[in-house]
């Protein structure tokens, strides 16, 4: 993945849907260059002044975009993702939730084949405040240019923590939603590798939650990679019951697998400071940055 440039053209898939329309306007308001949209059977229309094409291929030809923000309903997600990769899209930001897990696996296999990256699914997208690039649905008021990279499995919790960071005087170099499903495209470990190469990033905040072993794997990765930038984490769901899906398809504890305790202890073992509440995040971040300096 490359960090998107200021005013780089992007397209929106299913731009004529309710969310596609709303967020096209909000992305344009943030000065993101939404240059074309795709929606089967809606070619020739325009949304907020953005031309709409029947196919991704036409939208890409018109705009030169390599990035697509994806609002296609779950039932059609796989074939629309395939269409995007065949049209040359290299970064697919999948906002859609409720995509079947086997379709997600097939989407990932296609992405690998086309050397493309998927962010999400079931995520709020990404924002790079200093470049005025917003590829997703996050409310911009919580975000400001700064030196903290923020990665989160949850959307609203990402906004909440961005807002807490703002209160603590921290802005973001990048904020990116990993996604709330059992399967993610870009992983937290890959995000950390990515920001290691970003000079504008001073520290990292990772927001995790119950379910799966993404945080345990991240902890293992942190130990092995020995990156230079301090990491602070917050894990939601310490009081969640077992065997219950807590809103996100991926937020479920089976037996003793996927508990918050396991994630917190793995991350602490890897030298990550773990906050117990969102409001503790900026405090730990300040400590982590000053002890690293």
């Amino acid at each position: 993945m490359m960090l998107p440039q200021r005013a780089e053209p992007v397209i929106v898939q299913n731009i004529t849907g309710r969310y596609g329309r709303l967020h096209t306007r909000l992305m344009l308001d943030y000065e993101t260059n939404v240059a074309a949209g795709a929606a089967p059977g809606k070619g020739g229309q325009s949304v907020e002044g953005v031309p709409v094409f029947n196919t991704v291929s036409e939208a890409v030809t018109h705009s030169g975009a390599k990035t697509s923000v994806f609002f296609v309903p779950a039932e059609f997600a796989y074939s629309a993702a395939e269409e995007a990769f065949l049209a040359g899209i290299k970064l697919l930001v999948v906002i859609t939730e409720r995509i079947p897990v086997r379709d997600e696996l097939k989407m990932l296999e296609l992405a690998r084949k086309h050397t493309a990256t998927i962010i999400g699914p079931n995520c709020p997208g990404m924002i790079v405040p200093a470049r005025k690039v917003k590829l997703g649905i996050m409310p911009v008021t919580a975000f400001a240019p700064g030196r903290v990279a923020l990665f989160s499995r949850s959307g609203t919790l990402m906004y909440e923590i961005a807002d807490q960071l703002k209160g603590g005087g921290f802005g973001q170099s990048i904020a990116l939603g990993i996604g709330g499903d059992p399967i993610n495209g870009l992983t937290a470990g890959e995000c950390l590798d990515f920001v290691e190469t970003m000079p504008e990033t001073e520290a990292v905040v990772v927001v995790g939650e119950i379910g799966g072993d993404a945080e345990e794997r991240l902890a293992g990765h942190i130990k092995k990679a020995a990156h230079s930038k301090p990491v602070v984490a917050y894990i939601a769901g310490r009081h969640a019951p077992k065997e219950k899906k807590m809103g996100h398809a991926g937020a479920i504890i089976y037996g003793n697998f996927g508990t918050a305790e396991s994630k917190i202890s793995a991350l602490r073992d890897a030298g990550v400071s773990v906050a117990m509440t969102p409001s503790e995040v900026p405090l730990l971040l300040r400590e982590a940055i000053s002890s690293k300096a």
């Binding site: 079947p100 296999e109 409310p139 949850s154 799966g212």
Partner: protein, 365 residues
């Protein structure tokens, strides 16, 4: 969606997997009638979704009608993980010496399905160490793959062919019915050397249910969970007295933690979803207002795409409809000043931060 054992076994049969002969009994009389027809030795198995059934006493060997009567009565009354069975599976016992474990499951971290097997499985498979694991290609597996996997589990000859047949069928079931988990635990090896799945656990990918209408309404839901899912809310009933409502799964999860840390007991998890509008907020508040065990409501909104003024208007509307449980709210984000003014002259208690609202709702004045 997790299926009951008897439903999972019906699915097994559909895919040509042999399972012991059984009858589903909805009360003790039906269990006795089944016993009369099937002859001992039989096993009675509580049909609950909760784990740890065997250890909790939800399975019993029976060899006489009198035993069926006393054990069936006991099992129908036995609550396992807060769940009492609506049915008992009366099943022919299968004498065996050895038990294996076999499953096809999603490995989230590896982003792949895989098959897991052990040569000696049974009830403590979670602690066993001689696990064999192989990734399953998206298009599925063949006989050869399954035979090779069986060899890893020290099977050979006709027994391995039988094992391979079971694995191929289990994998096909898992793939075609889009299971997150299809598990045989135990896979018994009888005294004659034959393999037979004695238990079946199947979890279907909820997000794939639109392609599998055959599973609709297969598992009865809690009345409030059913109502909430009809409205499109993510909702989990938790048994405490504080209804927790917010926008976004992670935010609500984090709010549950704040409540739990402060010593409070959440009655429910209710996620309004992203971009929630006024009507959805109203519907959510009406729903938790009806939840009998909840006596107060905590609303935690971080407004972004969800407008704080819509939230305020939604609260005003439900307040105007009549008796409402006390609402403790934190409403933050764009236009929050306007939202707060809208609610200033109402009974709603407003707090500037989530911890403040949680402290107040947990220790009401």
């Amino acid at each position: 969606m997790r299926l009951f054992e008897y439903q999972a076994k019906d699915l097994f049969k559909l895919y040509g997997l042999a399972v012991p002969e059984s009858v589903l009994a909805h009360d003790t009389n039906e269990a006795i009638a089944a016993f009369e027809r099937m002859k001992p030795p039989l096993v009675l198995k509580s049909q609950v979704l909760a784990g740890g059934r065997g250890k909790a006493g939800g399975v019993a060997m029976v060899s006489s009608a009198a035993e069926v009567e006393s054990e069936a009565k006991r099992i129908f009354e036995l609550s396992i993980g807060g769940e009492k069975p609506e049915a008992i599976l009366v099943e022919r016992a299968f004498p065996h010496e050895k038990e294996m474990y076999l499953s096809v499951t999603l490995d989230r971290g590896e982003r792949s399905f895989e098959t897991i097997g052990t040569a000696s499985g049974g009830i403590d498979v979670e602690t066993t160490t001689e696990k064999q694991i192989r990734k399953i290609p998206l298009q599925g597996i063949d006989e050869k793959f399954a035979q090779e996997f069986g060899s890893l589990l020290h099977l050979s000859g006709p027994q391995n062919s039988q094992f391979a047949d079971i694995l191929v069928k289990l994998e096909r079931l898992s793939r075609e019915k889009e299971c997150e988990l299809a598990e045989i635990n135990p896979l018994a090896i009888g005294s004659d050397g034959n393999l037979l799945p004695l238990d079946a656990k199947v979890i279907i990918d909820d997000n794939a249910l639109f392609r599998h209408p055959e599973f609709a309404k297969l598992v009865p839901e809690d009345r409030f969970e059913a109502e909430a899912s009809k409205q499109g809310f993510a909702f989990v009933r938790l048994g405490g007295d504080i209804a927790v409502v917010g926008n976004g799964a992670g935010l609500v999860l984090s709010t549950l933690d704040l409540v739990g840390d402060a010593g409070g007991k959440p009655a429910c998890f209710l996620d309004l979803g992203g971009g929630a509008q006024q009507e959805r907020i109203e519907a959510a508040l009406r729903l938790v207002n009806k939840l009998p065990e909840a006596d107060r409501i905590l609303v935690n909104i971080f407004g972004g795409i969800t407008r704080t003024t819509d939230v305020a208007q939604g609260i005003l509307t439900v307040l105007s409809e009549g008796a409402m449980k006390p609402i403790y709210a934190r409403v933050s984000g764009a236009e929050e000043q306007v939202a707060k003014e809208m609610l200033a002259s109402t009974k709603v208690k407003l707090y500037p931060t989530a911890p403040d609202a949680v402290h107040a709702v947990v220790t009401p004045a």
